[in-house]
């Protein structure tokens, strides 16, 4: 039996933290893309499409992420797609973050005064150009602090991927615990590493919010 020094544990956890960060990045990038598409539909003219997006958001916000993960993991094979833990986690967290991001951004877009829509329409801009040229540039400023705040939630959520067997930081901690019988040290350390990833984001979100509140442009 090999002995694990404290440094061995820390090193292995930090190596696994790469996967936590990568999964967060993929879920955020994918979620931002789909979230934007959903936002365009959500603010658009078709009522049934708007309702569908609303239900989609409600579904993700009112069910446990763990269940969503299991459904993707056990459901995709029925569609003939062979899923690894990696793929299931990436797909699921992407859908999850697209739902939350759409909702956050909808709030920002709805805060833009009605006159901006009317004004840009009177200039002959159609819906997509209105969004692109007039509404979104203004809404972005407002949307950034809560978006960064959501990133914290997303990084924490990746810990659930450990349950379907994806080897990110929490899963690695479980394996290390089984090998070393030092759960106190290991889970304590894992918590600190997550904190080190999330706290700067929390601070940034709060700072941005304050700057926005004081009207810094």
């Amino acid at each position: 039996m090999t002995d694990f020094t404290l440094w061995d544990i820390a090193r292995n956890l930090l190596l696994a933290a790469r996967w936590t960060l990568l999964l967060s990045a993929i879920a955020f990038a994918g979620g931002a893309f789909f979230g934007l598409v959903l936002l365009v539909i959500r603010m658009g003219a078709w009522k049934w499409a708007r309702t569908t997006v609303m239900l989609y958001v409600e579904l993700f916000q009112s069910t446990p992420l763990l269940m969503q993960l299991f459904l993707v993991y056990f459901g995709l094979p029925h569609l003939g797609i062979d899923v690894s833990a990696w793929l299931a986690a990436a797909v699921c967290l992407t859908l999850y973050s697209s739902a939350f991001l759409t909702d956050i951004w909808r709030g920002a877009v709805e805060a833009i005064p009605r006159g901006q829509w009317d004004g840009s329409a009177s200039l002959g801009l159609h819906y997509l150009r209105q969004l692109h040229l007039v509404i979104l540039p203004q809404a972005t400023r407002m949307a950034i602090p809560p978006t960064v705040g959501f990133l914290v939630q997303l990084v924490k959520s990746t810990a659930l991927a450990s349950i379907v067997g994806f080897h990110e930081m929490t899963r690695t901690a479980q394996i290390l615990t089984n090998a070393t019988f030092q759960p106190f040290v290991i889970y304590g350390m894992v918590a600190l590493f997550y904190f080190a990833m999330c706290y700067p984001l929390t601070k940034a979100s709060r700072g941005l919010e304050r700057r926005l509140a004081t009207g810094g442009r």
Partner: protein, 222 residues
């Protein structure tokens, strides 16, 4: 594809479903009641005149809010026994959920307290009320009325996040799903049904708590 969805295989487990639902709701109820009470205490104490009290509370809130719930729970259930605190899975789950919700409740209620105009407290003081009644009868009810929707949201999130307690073998709704799908191999159907139960619980809980809030804070919210 030859696979047919079959939900009929789930009917025989009705009793288990009910048991799991009861455990999930019970844990949520304990965490909510204790979490909100501690949240009020924490929020009140974060305007304490002692710097170390404020720092302690801020540190606690930040630590909990910036680490995953599952890691907090593993630390409590697997980590604490090595320093002599041995808890059953159910106790560990309840404790983890309470600790987690408390941190968010402190933050939410603190925001509510800050939004109550200073004049409210001052006026009550000038009527001769002592510090505690001023807080309990005048300031706190207004603060809670203002942030009640946020609290309801957070309680719902706690309920949904509690799915994770199945990982330390608490027999909640998710654990019931794990058990059933390991017997009938109908994993997709089982998890789909359980997900729908969570969905119904979440929607009902929000509705009922909002309804209760309308009675509780009638005319107070602004």
């Amino acid at each position: 594809m030859g696979y047919q969805l079959d939900f009929g295989a789930l009917v025989q487990y009705l009793g288990l479903f009910l048991h799991g639902t009861a455990v999930t709701l019970g844990l949520t109820a304990v965490a909510s009641v204790v979490g909100v009470v501690l949240g009020i205490a924490g929020a009140a104490a974060s305007s304490s005149r002692y710097v170390w009290v404020r720092r302690l509370i801020a540190g606690y809130v930040e630590l909990i809010r910036n680490t995953p719930f599952i890691v907090q729970m593993f630390f409590i259930f697997f980590g604490l026994p090595s320093v002599g605190l041995r808890l059953t899975a159910l106790q560990a789950a309840a404790l983890a959920m309470t600790i987690n919700l408390t941190a968010y409740a402190i933050e939410i209620i603190r925001a509510g307290l800050e939004a109550v105009p200073k004049g409210q407290g001052e006026a009550a003081r000038s009527m001769g009320l002592r510090v505690l009644p001023v807080f309990g009868l005048i300031v706190l009810p207004q603060a809670l009325a203002n942030v009640y929707p946020a609290l309801v949201g957070q309680i719902t999130i706690t309920m949904l996040e509690s799915a994770v307690v199945s990982q330390i073998a608490v027999v909640d709704l998710t654990h019931v799903a794990d058990y059933i799908q390991s017997r009938n191999f109908r994993s997709f159907e089982t998890y789909l049904v359980i997900t729908l139960i969570y969905l119904v619980l979440a929607v009902l809980m929000r509705r009922m708590l909002a309804f209760a809030g309308r009675g509780l804070f009638a005319g107070r919210a602004r």
